[in-house]
């Protein structure tokens, strides 16, 4: 496990150094901007879904079924997007990374390199 953590360390160090290399003002502006956009998006989604689902609830006899079908479709769509994103990220992490020659020349087994890449891919494709 030590090797897997070591293989992930450049990512953490790069993130930390990337933040440290920016001045605190531009860092604050960036976080605020991204935070505000994220919050607005989240509120928008919530309002739209709330209105649609409330409307469905008002439809007599099959309102619940409509809501159930809509949420199933949304879930399936998001799941498909997640799988697609996972495939793209994994292919680039496993086969196209520029540091592959470097890490394969190190005394680390291929299975540990795979595990480290898989952890990175999972993180990147799901919420990063």
């Amino acid at each position: 496990m030590h090797d897997v953590i070591t293989l992930l360390m450049p990512r953490f160090w790069s993130f930390r150094n990337g933040n440290a290399s920016q001045d605190s003002e531009s860092r604050t502006v960036r976080w605020f901007l991204f935070g505000a956009v994220g919050l607005l998006f989240w509120i928008g989604i919530f309002v739209v879904f709330f209105r649609v689902l409330t409307y469905f609830q008002g439809v007599e006899s099959f309102g619940d079924i409509l809501a159930h079908k809509l949420l199933s479709m949304v879930l399936i769509t998001f799941f498909a997007l997640l799988i697609f994103s996972g495939i793209i990220t994994s292919l680039s992490k496993f086969y196209l990374s520029r540091d592959l020659i470097l890490v394969h020349a190190m005394p680390v087994s291929a299975s540990r390199i795979f595990l480290a890449r898989w952890l990175e891919s999972t993180m990147d494709s799901s919420w990063w």
């Binding site: 450049p10 160090w13 150094n17 990337g18 540091d99 020349a105 190190m106 005394p107 680390v108 087994s109």
Partner: protein
Amino acid sequence: MIELKDLSKRYGKTLAVDRLNLFLERGEIFGFIGPNGAGKTTTIRMMGGILAPTAGAITINGISMTDHPEEAKKRIGFIPDRPYLYEKLTGMEFMRFSADLYGVHDGIFVEKAQELLRQFGLFEWSHDLIEAYSHGMKQRLIISAALLHEPLVLIVDEPMVGLDPAAIKMVKDILKDLARRGTTVFMSTHTLKVAEDLCDRIGVIHRGSLIALGTTKELKKAARFQEADLEAVFLRLTEE
């Protein structure tokens, strides 16, 4: 120290390396020269454990690269032709990353890393991000990192590319010093002057096959070019 036995590599229908046989002694500096596409980098990548050979065996200090790749790689310092460095890391962090994977103990890491960074003229920039380094500095950093675990074998692909004359002299002196202390150096190069100055023996590879092997003097004799320099010998040996 390094033994290649009937080493071959095939990419589909292309035979990149064809039954290569070599034995390198401890403390030897071996130059591997050949035209573009001759199979130098493929050979070097197989020796570094990055590519698996189609056939044949690689033994590093008696350890088979196929059977015990991790053990064999621990004895190698590998310097690729186009090294990748994590741009957002500092030089010292990159050294730490390398040390952790090669199992260099914490107790000796700082001292050893500082010594190498001083030797390669990078100590002042060791806490700066690598993205701010010049190409030559990056090349020197990758060489420093490859020497951190005191390898028995150094495999270098085009070590002098992008280095200024002072850095070339520095690297040449360091390679000579390492060889004197028992490290075997396997070096691929296009700079024939470097090969002539530095190498105990030179191997010429062409279309995947080793077509000549020996000291500069022996190669001149083989090419029937006693008075010529290595460049003329190389052109004669590899001409169609």
